[in-house]
Every structure is written in structure tokens, then in C-alpha cells.
């Protein structure tokens, strides 16, 4: 269990590819991973989605090898059925990608939180798991500032940067 001064307060949170790409592009991925020591879970598909950002190649494998983030893969009937449901069911009103369906399926079935920059995915997660952490990249930086992991000026710079990447 991690200390309370981490960003997700010791809870495991599934993070989507866009968040990884944005923090990497702002040269802040190391910071984010440091704020959330072993709290970030990436589904296997996210690794191939988040291969590059404007700042260059993203090496998620090395973070995984160094036990800084956790890699998991959709497996078992419950997770697979959820995955297929979100991939093929049109009830969300928006067609989502495999990585997003995998994040949702994993977070819902394992009781993890979700950090995702697609509102439709977050809305569905909030509906299914109302008490869980559900945030986006904006929320991550704001929370980091709130609990003193980052100074106000640096946080404002990051929030501004999130609009540009």
C-alpha cells in the first residue's frame, strides 16, 4: 500500500493512452508516474496506442519492467464480455476504440479507478462505478497541485500545456 501523499491515495487507477501521451509530450510523464507510485495500471493495448507523443518515443515497457507502473491484460469471461460489450454495443452513442473498451472493462471488473480523457468513457464509468476515482489529465494536475505535489506556477504551466498537446 502506498502512502496517502500519492495522487490516487493508494488506489489502483487504469489510465488511458491519451493521458500518457499528453504527459509525455509535456515532458511530465516521469512526474506523473512519481506522483502515483505503483498506482497506474495500463492495459496491454495501451502500450501500443501510446507509443509516441510530440516529444518522441514513449517507452512504457521500461516503466513496467522497473515496477513503476502495472501492466494488465483483459482476461477471463467477465472482462472479455465487458470488453466486447463496449466495443460492439452502440448504447454509448459514440464508437469507442479497443483501448478505451479495454480500460473500461478492466476498471469496472477489477474495481479500479479510471483516468481517461474521453468524456463518454468517463460518463459510462461513473454510471457503472459511482464511488470510484474517475478523472482526466486536467484533474490529475489539479489534484497534484491541491495536495502539494507540484507548485501553483508549474501546475498552471501544465494545465495550459494540456491545451496544446
Amino acid at each position: 500500500m502506498t502512502s496517502a501523499s500519492t495522487i490516487f491515495n493508494g488506489k489502483l487507477v487504469t489510465v488511458d493512452a491519451m493521458i500518457i501521451i499528453k504527459f509525455h509530450a509535456l515532458l511530465a510523464l516521469d512526474k506523473f508516474i512519481d506522483w502515483a507510485k505503483r498506482e497506474i495500471v495500463v492495459e496491454k493495448r495501451i502500450k501500443s496506442e501510446a507509443k509516441y507523443s510530440k516529444a518522441g518515443q514513449i517507452d512504457l515497457a521500461s516503466y513496467i519492467e522497473n515496477n513503476l507502473i502495472i501492466e494488465e491484460e483483459i482476461e477471463g469471461k467477465e472482462q472479455e464480455n465487458l470488453f466486447y460489450h463496449y466495443l460492439t454495443n452502440k448504447s454509448l452513442g459514440v464508437i469507442i476504440y479497443e483501448g478505451e473498451a479495454a480500460c473500461l472493462a478492466l476498471a469496472i471488473s477489477k474495481g479500479y479507478g479510471l483516468a481517461c480523457d474521453e468524456k463518454v468513457v468517463r460518463d459510462e464509468f461513473k454510471r457503472k462505478c459511482p464511488g470510484q476515482i474517475c478523472t482526466n489529465s486536467w484533474g490529475i494536475v489539479s489534484k497534484a497541485r491541491k495536495i502539494g505535489l507540484i507548485g501553483t506556477k508549474a501546475a498552471e504551466g501544465l494545465l495550459e500545456g494540456l491545451h496544446q498537446v
Binding site: Y84, G93, I95, E98, D117, C134, G139, S142, H163
Partner: protein, 384 residues
Amino acid sequence: MSEEMNSRSIVIGERLKKAREALGYTQEKVAEKLNIGRPRYSDIENGKRDIPLKELYSFCEFFGRPLEYFLKEKLAVDSGFKVLFRKTEGDQEVAKVITEFETLCEKMYTLEEIADIKIRPSISKDYAYEKDRLLFWGKFYAKQERQRLNLGQASIRNLDQILEEKCALKIFYLPIPAERGIFGMFTYDEEMGGCVLINTNANFGKQLFSLAHEYAHFIFHKERLGIVSSEKEKDTSDESLADNFAGDFLMPEESVNDIFNIRIKNRKDLTAEDTIYFAEYFGVSFQAMVYRLNNLKLLSNDMKEKLISETWVNTVRRSMGISEPESRPKFPSLYFHLCLKAYQQNKITTSKLAEFLELPLYQAMELGRKIKRSVQDDECLDNF
């Protein structure tokens, strides 16, 4: 198995069979290549066994198909592609290209559904012609189509845009190994309309000729459902008619005569440089221009043979300031339009946009930011 799983297994099984047969593989071969027992593979194909997602992904990779292909309840394009696969049976490399062509057509159909835009102009029956008068009918219908499409006598380099707009043809550009001698392909499906594939391993002039040639198949041969236009088939009546049509359609007799008379005037000899100039004017290949000039008796047979054997044409073209465009997108312009529209209407996510446009996600995010102002939703979610 639950009812949902059961119906999914049946669909997956049917698609596996279809994908396997398209590549001309036996069940034994697939089972061996993927290192699974033949009885187990047979059960999967017969929808009797559910398979783990991980294994389904290995099938996707093996058959070169997206996951969606194995999950979609109904495929939009089917019969025409069956014909294409049958015509190229045993050629794995070409089968891979047809697979990609089919995937692109399916994606286009999905996009039309998502964006709720389906342009399907009324399609006329195949035009009638007599096989012993192919030159006449090629010329006759070329003239008629130019009139019907309001093209006048001008050169039509933007033929792809014209056919997309006016005939709702879906035109894709992919490389097919040059040694196969395949110039293009055509499929027709009532639900989907006409779909064309042009081989990008040919020069741009040849690609334009191939497009006019495939358009001929669209007006004459829809009932065939699928046609592979290749060197091997070039002497068949279908191919001869399509070639005759394409020549007349792209280089109308009156226009060629006009430009010929202006440039050559009282000179006796037509040179390679003149032919390059004419080819550039009509946007066709040097070779197509030579044949057309010969066909209109503006070039002798001896000169035709001499020009065709010239090896320095490209060097001269470059010295005349004519260069090949570097590349062209594989998708029709409507495909881009539908992607962007669906995205702007919030009907697909940024990751899905990346998948449709075959872009790395960070590039799709950049594109998304440009067309939507921001892909960052400023909802402040720090109350955790």
C-alpha cells in the same frame, strides 16, 4: 455458453472460415501455423467453442483482419470480394492486398453509417454492347459518359474526384506487387455500390488510365460483381472494351486531333518529346499516349514500336520539368470527410479517429485539436 457468447462464437467461426478460404488455406494449415490442434480449430470455426480474446487477436494478426471483422454481425461487402479472392486464388501476396481493400471498404461503410451519410445515386443497368464491335462501343460510350458527366473535351486529371462525386465510386489506392501485372480491381455490391482499387506501383499516368478502365467495368460489368484487371486478362473482350473506353474517355479523338494539329502543324515527324507533352496534357502515361496516337493513325506502327522501346522517357520528362507527385492518399476524399464529420459530431472518439485514419494516436490528437479547438475537456475532476 450464454446466448450472447454463443451467437458471438458463431459469428467468429463464420468469419474465420471466410478469412481462411479467402487466403486459400485449409483448416490443417491454419491450425498448424497457429499451433493449435486441428479438431479444436474446427470446433472454433463451427462456432462450437468460445475462444479467449488473446487467441482471437492472434487470428486477427494471422489473417490480417481487424478485430471488428470477427465481431460485426453483418458485413457490408461480401459477394464481390469472394469473386476477387477466387480470381487470385493461391496468390497470398495479392490476397493480402484484397483483404486490405475489403477492410477499407468495410470501414468506409461503417463511417457512412456513423455519419449518417450514404450517397447512392441511382445505378443504371450494365450498358449493352456487341463483342465483335468493341472499338465502336468503347468510343460510343466514352462520348456518352463525357456528356452525361458534363466533362466537355478537357483533360480529366481529377477523374477520381469526379467519379466519387457523380457516381459514388469508392476509390482506394494500394500497392500490388508489380510482377503480378495487376493494374486495378473492381467490385460491385448493391448495398455498397462500386468500389475500385488502383495499383500505386504504376506511374500516375497509368493509374489514371486504370481508373478510367475500372470505371468502364462499373458501367459495363457490374453483374460480374468482381473483376481483376491484369496483364494476363488483357486480351479478353471485357478488358479490351474497358481499354478502348478508357482511351477514348481520357483522350477524346477531337481533343487529340486539336492539340496534335496545334503542336505538330506542318512538321512531318512526331518526336518522343511531343508524345511526352501530349501525355502530360491528358495526364496519361507515355505508353497510353503512344497507343492512342497510333490508334488514331497519327503515329505510324514503326514509330509506335520505336517510341515504346525508348528507355530515356523519364529522363526527358524530368528535363521538361514534369515530375511524378510523391504519393497519393490511399483513401477517397469522402472517407476523410466522413471521419472528420463523425469526429466533429462526437460520434467517434479520438482513438477511433486514429484507427480510421491509420494515424498514430498523438497525430490524431493534434488533428482533433485543430478541428475541435481542443481534445482536452476542462472538466475539473480533482475531487478524489
